[in-house]
């Protein structure tokens, strides 16, 4: 039987703004299924985002939704969570939103280990503004602001999150829609700051310029280059060149920020 997504969607707000072939619709479906699996009440959930194509997602979802300024999703989310820890707070954004303009908020949210689930939609590019390079654009790739090929070094978002102190870090792709749903559910269930980096194709801003072919080809590229985390551990650096690990990359348990604060200051 077909899955009923409509319960979580805002009727009248669809069609969405995403281009045909954009990976974001797949993420939204997996996100809905994962949230449904948690059994959380819609009134308990707060979805925050910044600015970008990815950040338009909360507008389509029937929760308490907060579309903020570019890069600031996690800073707003932190205020919401600290003021009312009963709320389940989910923050999302694109690679530019979360790791360029919002990079400082990102690493500090990781460091605090505040109980927020963060999704970074990594399409290697600034989609909304038309294909400028981002901190995750691969070296030598083309972008409208890198017409000679990108000279910058690339951020590895998952490694950045682990280094900064996030207690649950995972990576997935839009090809892996079903495992993605499980991973998102795991992240939502984790107490502390969890990050899921989701590789998603932007055929309009990245694929076209970098000769990646059709949107379907871009998804196949994800399939071919994703290596399960366990296998990736056993592979050499050369074998992993151009590939990336998927699955749970890091999971530890540390005191959650608001709980630790409350205990420290004697709040109950």
């Amino acid at each position: 039987m077909a899955y009923d997504y409509s319960k979580y969607l805002r009727s009248g707000k669809i069609p969405h703004i995403w281009c045909p072939g954009c990976g974001y619709g797949i993420i939204m479906k997996s996100l809905i299924r994962a949230i449904d699996a948690t059994g959380l009440d819609k009134d308990e959930i707060v979805l925050t985002s910044g600015i970008g194509c990815a950040s338009r997602l909360p507008g389509y979802m029937d929760f308490n939704t907060l579309h903020t300024t570019h890069g600031r999703s996690l800073a707003f989310a932190t205020g919401v969570k600290v003021a009312n820890p009963k709320l389940k707070v989910i923050a999302l954004g694109g690679d530019g939103d979360m790791t360029a303009i919002g990079g400082n908020h990102f690493i500090h949210a990781c460091r605090r280990n505040i109980d927020i689930t963060c999704f970074v939609f990594n399409n290697y590019i600034y989609g909304m503004t038309g294909g400028q390079y981002s901190p995750t654009t691969p070296k030598n790739a083309k972008a409208t602001t890198a017409p000679y090929g990108n000279a910058d070094n690339q951020f590895d978002i998952a490694q950045l999150a682990i280094g900064a102190g996030a207690t649950f870090v995972a990576r997935t792709t839009t090809y892996h829609a079903v495992p993605m749903e499980k991973l998102i559910k795991q992240a939502l269930d984790h107490k502390g700051f969890s990050v899921v980096e989701i590789m998603a194709g932007c055929p309009t801003g990245y694929g076209r310029k970098n000769k990646q072919g059709s949107p379907a080809n871009m998804i196949l590229w994800q399939k071919e280059n994703a290596v399960p985390a366990n296998k990736a551990k056993e592979m050499s650096e050369e074998e992993m060149a151009g590939k990336f690990a998927i699955g749970v990359l890091h999971e530890v348990h540390k005191p959650e920020y608001v709980e630790a604060y409350d205990a420290q200051v004697g709040l109950k």
Partner: protein, 377 residues
């Protein structure tokens, strides 16, 4: 019953006022000369069930303050010059989305890192026009430590009542000086909470104003699921590219302040009724101005002090009463002539308007003002 008397610093009095008003969340980033507000609330908020967080920068602090308010808590942040500049992006967000919160700017010299430990009054135009786009502003400017407390309560009340950010513009002198003040008893000062919706959640429109032009605001998590965006939006909160509607909404926001001028604007008019010379002064400069006016009166000069406690909206209705009567206005301020522009605008050439301006990190003294009063006589 006698009220409790305490010998407090101006910044400490802000903390007392915030707690009195029901503030339960503070997000900030330390900067001189505002830091004692953060330190004070870090210590006292947990005792009343509130929380404090030191964010990674002022952008984040402003964002978290707004987030805290959306989650239902009265929220405060405090900063000074460079920090205020950083807050502007998200302050604009709070104006557009009509989120109540209070921002204290303990002014220092500038631009840039400027004179960190000295006083300034050079953010008065920034307080009105600092963020991009048109929006109304409510800005309060206390002159005494007692007013630091009382005006902080008033700032929260206005923020909640009109569903918008309110700025308290104070300066290093008032922030750091100590005076004996009376702590109001609980119930003595009015404390206002935002209007929350009472309608069926499915009918809730977060930007549908009541007759007072203010829409009721639901806390996230209270059963009213809705969307907040920094894009121009329709009454239902969702983005819209309809320019006419955006214009109407921003004019409605402007009107929600201007139509309540009498409730919002507060002024001290001291010896103004028959004055030939009116000193227009605010914040710490108004303290010197008052002394100068008292001395001038003792010399038989008809001087008066016009002291706005609300700087924005500009108290023009109050000031207009003296236009055509007083023959000169003197505007002492710790900048190169910002509020003088507003006084000029209202006086419209019908009297002389003279500025006394300093940006050397020293206060304006009563002597400097009385000299100007004598010259104007």
């Amino acid at each position: 019953m006698a009220r409790e008397i305490r010998f407090l610093q101006g910044n400490e009095a802000v903390c007392e006022g915030a707690l009195y008003a029901g503030c339960r969340f503070y997000a900030g980033y330390p900067i001189t000369p505002s830091t004692e507000i953060a330190e004070g609330l870090a210590a006292s908020l947990p005792k009343v069930g509130g929380r404090f967080i030191q964010m990674e920068d002022e952008l984040a602090a402003m964002a978290a303050t707004i987030g805290g308010s959306i989650a239902g808590k009265k929220s405060l942040t405090a900063t000074s010059g460079p920090g205020m500049s950083l807050k502007m992006e998200n302050l604009g967000y709070a104006y557009l989305t009509e989120i109540p919160c209070v921002i204290v700017n303990v002014m220092r010299g500038g631009p840039s890192t400027g004179l960190p430990t000295g006083p300034g009054q050079s953010d008065v135009m920034q307080a009105k026009w600092g963020t991009h786009g048109d929006h109304p502003a409510i800005v309060l400017t206390p002159s005494t430590v007692q007013e630091q407390l009382n005006e902080t309560v008033r700032a929260f009340n206005l923020a909640e009542k009109y569903r918008m950010p309110v700025i308290i513009l104070t300066d290093e002198i008032i922030g750091h000086m100590r005076e004996a003040i009376e702590i109001p008893e609980p119930g003595e000062l009015e404390v206002i909470d935002r209007k929350r919706p009472t309608c069926d959640p499915k009918d809730y429109k977060p930007y549908k104003p009541d007759a007072d032009l203010v829409p009721p605001m639901a806390d996230f998590g209270s059963g009213y699921r809705y969307h907040i965006t920094g894009l121009n939006h329709a009454e239902d909160g969702f983005p819209s590219n309809n320019g006419k509607m955006a214009q109407a909404d921003e004019i409605r926001q402007e009107n929600k302040v201007m139509h309540h001028y009498d409730d919002i604007v507060k002024v001290e008019e001291f010896e103004c009724a028959d004055a030939d010379i009116i000193v227009f002064a605010y914040g710490s400069s108004a303290r010197s101005a008052k002394e100068a006016v008292i001395k001038a009166r003792a010399e038989g000069i008809k001087a008066g002090l016009f002291r706005p406690l609300t700087l924005w909206p500009f108290p023009e209705k109050h000031l207009e009463k003296y236009v055509g009567k007083a023959k000169s206005f003197i505007v002492p301020e710790l900048n190169l002539g910002m509020m003088k522009l507003e006084v000029d605008r209202v006086v419209k050439g019908q009297a002389k308007v003279v500025g006394i301006n300093k940006i050397d990190s020293d206060p304006i003294t009563p002597v400097e003002i009385i000299d100007e009063i004598r010259r104007a006589k």
